[in-house]
Symmetry: C2
């Protein structure tokens, strides 16, 4: 359905604005063009009139052609873009049973950290991600801006916490590696010592992973000079993914 | 000098607010407490009355004890913190002649990317960073928030561009490695092939490094699955630093 929408108080605009927080919304020219180039099916494409031709060719259930005030109302960026797309919720779809390398974000709060980790997971061809506990949700707009379209490429699963993850029968074949800025020295592994299949757990930015898990699983530690307290959670996750790929543990095993 | 400041229209407050953009300002409880714990000399500490004792013990040229409205006026965060500190400009102080591993940010625009790279440089004990061209400036508040106190630990130098850097006599001993999302295949090195002493150049987030340099220096490429266009500039820089440290090229050579 194609609609020309002239007013920011149009009932459709008001209805969308009200439910925006639970939807998967991509904002901005480059990101939306990436979606269109991938032929991702869109629920809705909101486009400035000047992109009329692009919009009419899009594979979208609904297309709104509109103007600056409506885009301003719908955008959560400081400067509203010309193109806003709403996609169907990506299917979680992580099959733990068949996975070999999965990164678990446990109560990660910063959307940029979580999004960065997703983007690296796509870059390095991980089997998937688990979002545990109150980890920021993937439909958070800052998460989506950092993750870009990797959200559509990386299978994921949302679980209430590490307890639930570790007690899953499908997760019983994994080596579990916890990450920590300063692990108990006698239990620290270097990144090169990780073995597949593995779950690599990255914790809360301030408090890390709940200490009771440290008695059950080894800690992998990225050696650091001690001048800073820790690498940020997103970067730590990416470095460990790089290490698994560099040492041939991702991408060589048969899937 | 200690001042009790009651009003947001106090002339000192107005004067500081006017020049804030060129100053090195740390905001927030944890960051400012980190500075105090390090005994960093502060130009100014602005503290809510409730932190009176902490403030009076600080090594600061000026201490302002104040209340919410003044903190609101000075803060560039959405929620003004209780503690704001202004430090003297950090001395650039990178000695290229004696350096072995230096990362160069060439026209990097995103303060979070540049700050993340600084934080990693501190974590991995790099000799320093070069900020080339219109790379975001280190006093940018979002840069400082991402870099945290690493800005005080990592020597750096600001240069007009790569031309100026490569023509410096003190830089003539370096191997130069350019990074690119998709390098010309025949010229791509893997990260493990980098040799010290080296300058590792990370470029503009969208446009990368000016192509004319690709005829003069090899490109190092982090292998990726091809599902995403590229790792972000901050993460790429951190992964290459990790690789240099992992393979013993940082931290083993005598300084």
């Amino acid at each position: 359905m194609i609609h020309e929408i002239a007013s920011r108080s149009n009932p459709r605009v008001r209805a969308l604005a009200a439910e925006l927080d639970g939807l998967y919304v991509y904002e901005g020219d480059r990101l939306v063009r990436d979606l269109l180039a991938r032929r991702e099916p869109l629920r809705l494409l909101v486009a400035h009139h000047r992109h009329r031709q692009l919009a009419l060719n899009a594979a979208a259930e609904n297309i709104w052609l509109t103007d600056r005030p409506v885009l301003d109302r719908l955008s959560r960026l400081r400067d509203a873009p010309d193109l806003i797309a709403v996609i169907p919720p990506p299917k979680p779809g992580l099959n733990l049973e068949r996975a070999e390398v999965v990164v678990v974000l446990d109560r990660v709060q910063d959307p940029a950290n979580a999004g960065t980790a997703f983007r690296c997971a796509a870059a390095f061809g991980l089997d998937g991600m688990v979002l545990a506990g109150d980890t920021v949700r993937p439909w958070n707009p800052r998460f989506m801006r950092a993750a870009q379209t990797s959200l559509l490429d990386v299978p994921f699963q949302i679980l209430p916490g590490l307890d639930e993850l570790f007690s899953l029968k499908q997760a019983s074949h994994f080596n579990v590696y916890l990450t920590a800025a300063a692990p108990p020295a006698e239990r620290g592994l270097s990144p090169g010592e990780m073995r597949i299949p593995c779950l690599v757990v990255v914790g809360h930015e301030g408090r890390g992973i709940d200490h009771r898990w440290f008695f059950q699983h080894p800690v992998v530690h990225i050696p650091q000079s001690g001048l800073v307290d820790s690498l940020n959670a997103g970067v730590s996750a990416c470095i460990l993914m790089y290490e698994l790929q560099r040492s041939g543990k991702i991408g060589v095993a048969e899937r």
